[in-house]
């Protein structure tokens, strides 16, 4: 959505901050269980080679391999330079999985702005469980990142998350948001903002101008209307066969703004669908959710 503002540009998930240099980034991509390089290859193809075809994706991969010795932050700088004067938006979920990676963003871009996007822990947990069930229905092993979100184990064994004794997505919700919060304590006040995802979906005309004002860009009706069309992003579709992903597969399958997706008035009290013994949220989860403005 934000990237549709004429003064902004939303990159797909580049996962750049998970490594210090591009050689390390390529190396890391071999060991992870998701298509880590798709987003950056698509971005480079689009920004430097003008389109996202099999051919330009190959050119992008070559361009990136040529720059293996470069720091990952320098690669992002090259993209930013190319997109001047638009403000570039980076949103790789991988970044929030490590304090070092979060710290790297600030160290490399000391004046960058950070938007902490939060979601109700119940909506988050239900979504994680729903995705896991889909994999289970297909009788296929879920990817480790999803298992990790569901169980938040350091080294999850395949399939273990489906064991109800270990499955509790509130743990990843709590720990990842706590890690972001801790990191943001080192960020100057004017460079950070927290927004509830549900508010963007249900009240875009109210929330989007607030984000624009904080980012220091205009929020006229034309700009806000444009932001309500995320489907117009050059990354809002499945990419060519060699780089199909680069964003959440649910978004790629249906990139339109649908306010109905936000379930209103979720409660912090009551049993959790993934918890067979009828237990609700832990005290610390509820406390953090309240800090984010989720009230009972």
């Amino acid at each position: 959505m934000l990237g549709q503002h004429p003064d902004m540009y939303a990159l797909p998930e580049t996962n750049l901050f998970t490594a210090e240099d591009l050689a390390g980034w390529w190396q890391r991509s071999i060991h992870v269980q998701f298509r880590m390089t798709d987003g950056l290859r698509r971005a480079v193809a689009q920004i430097f080679f003008g389109s996202q075809t099999e051919e330009t994706i190959r050119c992008a991969a070559g361009w990136l391999w040529q720059r293996s010795s470069c720091s990952t932050a320098y690669i992002l700088e090259l993209l930013i330079d190319r997109l001047i004067p638009r403000m570039v938006i980076e949103k790789s979920p991988s970044t929030v999985h490590s304090e070092d990676w979060l710290r790297r963003t600030m160290e490399m871009f000391p004046h960058a702005k950070f938007l902490h996007l939060v979601r109700h822990p119940r909506g988050y947990g239900d979504s994680v469980i729903k995705q896991l069930s889909k994999w289970d229905g297909k009788r296929r092993e879920a990817p480790s990142w999803l298992i990790n979100l569901a169980s938040y184990q350091k080294n999850p064994a395949p399939g273990r998350a489906l064991d109800s004794s270990t499955m509790d997505p509130q743990k990843s919700w709590y720990r990842l948001n706590m890690m972001i919060g801790k990191f943001l304590m080192s960020v100057p006040k004017k460079q950070k903002l927290r927004i509830r995802g549900e508010d963007i979906l249900t009240e875009p005309d109210k929330v989007l101008p607030k984000i624009c004002a904080w980012a220091g860009i205009g929020a006229d009706k034309k700009a806000v209307d444009a932001m309500k069309h995320p489907e117009r992003s050059p990354y809002a579709f499945v990419g060519p066969p060699s780089a199909p992903m680069g964003n959440d597969h649910l978004f790629l399958a249906d990139p339109y703004l649908r306010p109905a997706r936000a379930v209103p008035h979720l409660s912090l009290e009551g049993p959790l669908v993934w918890n067979p013994d009828g237990k609700g949220f832990a005290v610390e989860t509820k406390e953090l959710a309240r800090q984010f403005g989720y009230i009972d």
Partner: protein, 331 residues
Amino acid sequence: MTPASVRKRKPKRDDEPIRDLLFILAPPRSFSWRFCAVLGQHPQMYALPEMHLFSARTVGEWWDLCAKATFGMADGSLRAIAEILFGEQTEEAVRSASGWLKRRTHFTTAMVLEVLANELRPRIPVEKSPSIVYSIDSMDLAHRTFPEAKFLHLVRHPVAHCDSVHEAIDALRESGATIEHHWLLELANHPQPLPSEFGGDDARVLDPQRGWYALNMNICNFLECVPRNQQMRVKAEDFLDAPDKTLHGILHWMQLSASPLCLQKMRHPEQSRYMGLGPPNARFGNDSVYLETPSLHGSPVTQPGNKPVHRRLRPEIIDLAQKFGYRRGLR
């Protein structure tokens, strides 16, 4: 991420090699910053602060050295990048400069100097980091990466050098500063003994003439590989006693204008953008003593022979000083 936080303006064209660059080679306590600042006020030159770039091959290695240094080694580079690429030396610009350098850990340190030199065109950057003379490899790296650069060897009388080092250490002690790992102490107690000291106990005694000899010999050995027309030696005392005459000689060698207007401007080193302390996150970048007394004749010059010599000069010191043109105050 806003483009402004990445760079304030697009880089200038960089397809022309950097031909004009001046390195001042001098051991610490040789008036090198004063000298550099004077040259930098010439309309065709630009004095950089102490960047210590050639102590490392890449920016990544350079950051590692900065983390271990016992002084603000990164300050000069941060101030220069803040000033040249981000237009000012504020805390915010220094943060931008830090990010700019952190994103370039894969750059060679020479590439950083090249970026700055390109931005400064047509002015000639003047680089004078004392750390470069501690290693012939560092000077070789500078020469290899900028093969057409000029090298100016700034020398000082050995007795005045020794007195100056002792005075600076005394002043540090009086100020209550911790000097255990201070670079001044290392300079006064250079680990490399003089040839005439081998086999004796003298190497354990605090003696700045050892550093004077080792560092000047490093420079002399390095300069043997540099074409004659790209090197020059200047005595700091000549520069301080007769600045116009000395500057004329340097400008002639550099093939730059020596008009009265140029010389007039060079009398005001205090107008350098790096004079005085920097913002809190990059305080130094030059001789901290001179930062507080920024004028051409702002601090007293120790004349050879005016102060008691702590130890007799060794024969090799006398030989080398004579080679530099010193005749008085050596015995």
